[in-house]
Subunit: 129 residues, 2 copies
DNA sequence: CCTTGACCTTCTAGTGACTGGAAGCCACAT
DNA sequence: ATGTGGCTTCCAGTCACTAGAAGGTCAAGG
């Protein structure tokens, strides 16, 4: 499929997809006319990148995460350890998000009309590491 | 307190803190000698920014989130709606992270030694929106 | 067959969010 | 008083896009 459809299916703009190719993240096949050609596997990777990037993982980190799927020697304990360390990282992110959510929820539920700077929510704000 | 201690306490590098001042996100007081001077409230905001940025919120979004705390007219339904929409956004992020976590966990638990491209994990990869 | 318009290509340049380095002021210890 | 370290501003560079220009490709309609 062409880049347009790939963009639509992965949720990434075409420009970004070309950029990801430029930096060797996801390299499309080429047709005879020079057009990029995407398969379902490409779409999987691109969707994955969109998700991971949106969640605050850097490009090098994404490259690493992607390599977990590309590495054919998956039983390697290095790869496994890497995956597990990423799992821990994600758990951390989830708990930070949960804290942020709690803060915001409390704000919208309870804190209406009073004025700031000694609002209890602000105290809560810097609790997470 | 000086920027150095503020950096240590908030977990942000001094450069970033100065940058946040430059773009009017968090403006420190100044001492007579020209040094920036930070209070606990500043630290709260900076820590909050560190967390929110690390979780993939853009600067404009952070500005918005911060404004929720600065807005003295909190009962305003606009502000409340905004907070709730952010809560929904965070729920979304959390569920994406949970999916990513699941993918990685499964990978490290079950998928060792076989070779790619029809690994069931890859199929799972693009499930989330 | 020709044109129109949507979609593709590459290239250069600009933006957002930092980040590093230079040059110089300030504060405190030896 | 002189180093040492932290502070200041400013300018330049990087990363991850993103917009725009100039041009090639292709399916549909006249």
């Amino acid at each position: 499929m062409n880049i347009g459809e790939a963009a639509e299916r992965s949720g990434l703009p075409p420009k970004t997809i070309r950029y990801y190719e430029e930096i060797d993240l996801v390299i499309a096949d080429r047709r005879e006319n020079g057009y990029r050609d995407y398969s379902d596997v490409h779409i999987h990777k691109l969707s994955f990148l969109r998700r991971a990037r949106g969640l605050g993982f850097s490009i090098p980190e994404c490259r690493l995460l992607l390599s977990l799927y590309e590495d054919t020697d998956r039983s390697s304990s290095d790869v496994k350890a890497l995956a597990l360390s990423k799992v821990a990282e994600i758990d951390q992110k989830i708990s930070e998000l949960a804290g942020l959510r709690q803060t915001l929820k409390t704000l919208s539920d309870k804190c209406h009309g009073d004025d700031r700077p000694d609002c209890p929510i602000l105290d809560d704000l810097s609790k997470a590491p």
